[in-house]
Symmetry: C2
Subunit: 463 residues, 2 copies
């Protein structure tokens, strides 16, 4: 790894201030501290300086200089990631995209938008609503688009609309040497050359820094329905997932919520769920009649798999209530259990293996004998998020939680799955990369060396 | 480029025969001639030898030897590509995957299948039908899966199901040095490491050779409908495309057929179409009621855009008739115009620019003043296939056709589109790569040098 840089030289600071202007460069303690951590449990590391570029030329000039002077560069969006992805473990410069947060062009007829990487996806969607359009990947937190591209973020709507990877047409990227490239096309289809767009997506800022993106949008659907299905058993709930997808139904979202999580949610007195393994289901449709038929078929398939209660709510309000509930799980959990911290695990397996994956996760987290252990997950994608409790001031407890997390990852891999469904590798999943990728990890390393020979881009991540 | 190899040394031939067995290695003239061309207009080149590997170990041993002895290697599937992609322009060894054509495992619950690259997609789908599943990308010709992966093939069903790129989970790839790697996961979602799966898809055998693939399948839909919509103008037809997609309707297929093509089809007396710009539309649905409502909305939107006739046929038979008609266009054209050859052009642009793209293509092909000039296209994807007529024995005529093709590509690029929507770069689109990709072409070259430093893999293509 590149030598860590805890303090910038006067020359380097002068260069940055001359290039960006004084007010866009800071070594202020609180700014450095703010950019030392994300929302994960990983240790904070202070950068030497924080800069706020305003355009691709700024980014290019800084990278060219950093590459020549071997200064680590870590891009920063909203700091909402949860695997330590943007923590500047080698110090150097954090590049915060706060000021590059514009919608540049809306191509309404093509359902596309050009944006800068610093824009937050919820803010962007609020603006796009006037055109009747939205960006579908939905990580829960108000992440930046640049961060979502870096981590290939996904979430509750991914069964219907794909992950970030499936929703990007074009990128402007600044390479480690400062060169600005454009890759991809606004055409929906292309077979022209190597797929660099997908190479940069999910590379966590280690191959280049995205300064502009053309995103795929979708028309805001006119007709929503949401359903809550309660099951006798976890196995029944997960079999129902397979049946619904297998029937050719296309739920936009299909979430699994375990009994422990249901009980946590019910403590709020805001939600009144049956205390059973539960699926939250959402359909979108172009016509209300299509929606009715889809829901009826989904209910039938759930009933075939031991559903004991199926409640339907049609319309935007019901839909919004459901997802407000789902997205509040972590917050409710933390509020209900003062003195407990949680590792948020992210594993995924083929959908047919979801019952096995969830069962293994239940065993691991229950063995910790701490309150708050629970599992939610994007079931239609085979993705599970066990919340792994530990006592923050007890090293042995933290070690046990990490051990449980590792065991769950190894189960996911043994089932043909992956160490991370949507949170990225960051710091937390590095130990599992060789086991997951074998010799292809060396191909990744070779590409890293080719595009960033000095290793200045987000050092200490991915490998 | 690597030095061409027109004849293999006795040592090389002996190595191949020892490794594969005598019957899997040939220098027979007719075999070499058969593997000297694809279905394009590009010049044939004979390989020095043709081999028929039976497993990844065979491929690995051959590549290791070829890499050490600087022998060009070109992978071969069905020879159905139309940009010269598998023509062995530097001679050497053609590796025909004829004997690696097995379905290895069906994961019915996960809608996935492991296959070898030599299997043809129609043959594969015929076998998968007993599980109620199919592989959706549909290039028309009975291409091999390996070739479809190499070219990121797409076709009529791509609006509904995506291109090959969107339907591959996992690859086994043999690198230029003979190393066998596995990349990707059976999990529907992953954010683990660089996306090598998408890097290899569309790389046309220049970065590695695929020896196994895990494909995404879909349940065969129970309910089909097909519609034929005739319009007063091309502009009306293409505006209707935008309206249908913009309403949130999800046609599986949405094809544009120009008047010239309609007239060609009508000469068969098998089809009786109105002689107007025409859209062919297909919907799949989980319920017949959903289908009815989708069709009614589609018709309304077509009528709003100058549709003068909208004929609906529901069911598999009507659907099959429609696509038999669409896929016969090239054959009918060639039969109707003896003495004329055709360049099959492949350009794509954002859907909002489709009217401009098609208008420019019409001007170019009509200016040639030869019979058979016509345009079909995957309209919902902004993809157009002008059929560019020329006199095969007249060099000036061929040059004019090539000039027209170049002009159409430049229009596509100027509209924010791409030089190839689905046929790949091969030989035909190399001249446009710098214009389309700018500095990112150098990144592609750098990756090529990293993964294939001796340039043995499909030399003379892509760059």
């Amino acid at each position: 790894m590149i030598t860590p840089v805890q303090t910038l030289s006067d020359d380097a600071l002068q260069f940055l201030k001359q290039t960006l202007g004084d007010e866009l460069v800071t070594t202020n303690f609180s700014e450095r501290e703010y950019h030392a951590r994300d929302q994960s449990f990983h240790h904070a590391h202070m950068p030497a300086a924080v800069v706020f570029p305003e355009n691709a030329q700024h980014v290019s000039a800084i990278l060219k200089y950093a590459n020549e002077h071997l200064i680590p560069i870590t891009a920063w969006g909203a700091g909402t990631s949860i695997e330590g992805n943007p923590i500047p473990v080698a110090g150097g410069i954090v590049m915060d995209f706060l000021r590059m947060d514009k919608i540049l062009r809306v191509y309404a007829d093509d359902f596309q938008v050009d944006v800068q990487p610093g824009i937050k996806y919820k803010d962007m969607n609020a603006k796009l609503a006037s055109d009747g359009l939205f960006f579908a990947p939905d990580p829960g937190a108000n992440a930046s688009i640049g961060g979502m591209i870096a981590n290939n973020a996904a979430g509750t709507r991914t069964p219907g609309y794909g992950a970030t990877r499936d929703n990007v047409f074009r990128l402007q990227v600044v390479l480690a040497n400062g060169e600005i490239i454009h890759t991809g096309t606004r055409s929906k289809k292309t077979s022209s050359g190597y797929d660099l767009v997908h190479l940069f997506i999910g590379s966590e800022g280690t191959l280049g820094i995205v300064t502009e993106a053309t995103l795929k949008l979708h028309p805001i659907p006119e007709h929503f329905s949401a359903a809550v299905a309660s099951f006798e058993t976890v196995a029944g709930a997960t079999r129902a997932v397979s049946a619904v997808v297998g029937a050719g139904l296309k739920p936009v979202a299909l979430e699994f919520v375990d009994v422990a999580t249901v009980r946590e949610l019910n403590t709020t007195n805001e939600f009144h769920l049956r205390e059973n393994p539960t699926l939250l289901i959402e359909f979108h449709s172009a016509t209300p009649h299509a929606l009715e038929h889809e829901l009826a078929l989904a209910q039938e398939l759930c009933n075939d798999n031991g559903c004991i209660f199926f409640e339907v709510g049609v319309g935007r309000v019901e839909r919004d209530r459901l997802w407000k509930m789902r997205h509040s799980t972590y917050e409710v959990l933390v509020r209900n259990h003062p003195g407990i911290s949680f590792l948020i695990c992210d594993v995924a397996a083929p959908v047919s293996k979801y019952p096995e994956l969830v069962a293994a996760c239940e065993r691991e987290i229950n063995a910790l004998n701490l309150p708050g252990a629970s599992i939610v997950g994007h079931a239609a994608d085979g993705n599970a998020h066990p919340l792994v409790p530990y006592l923050p001031d007890d090293k042995a407890s933290h070690a046990r939680a990490l051990q449980a997390l590792g065991n769950m990852v190894r189960v996911a891999l043994s089932l043909g799955g992956t160490a991370t469904g949507e949170h990225g590798v960051g710091l937390g999943k590095i130990p599992f990369m060789r086991e997951e990728h074998g010799a292809s990890l060396d191909v990744m390393r070779a590409i890293k060396r080719t595009l960033d020979p000095n290793g200045i881009l987000n050092p200490g991540k991915m490998f």
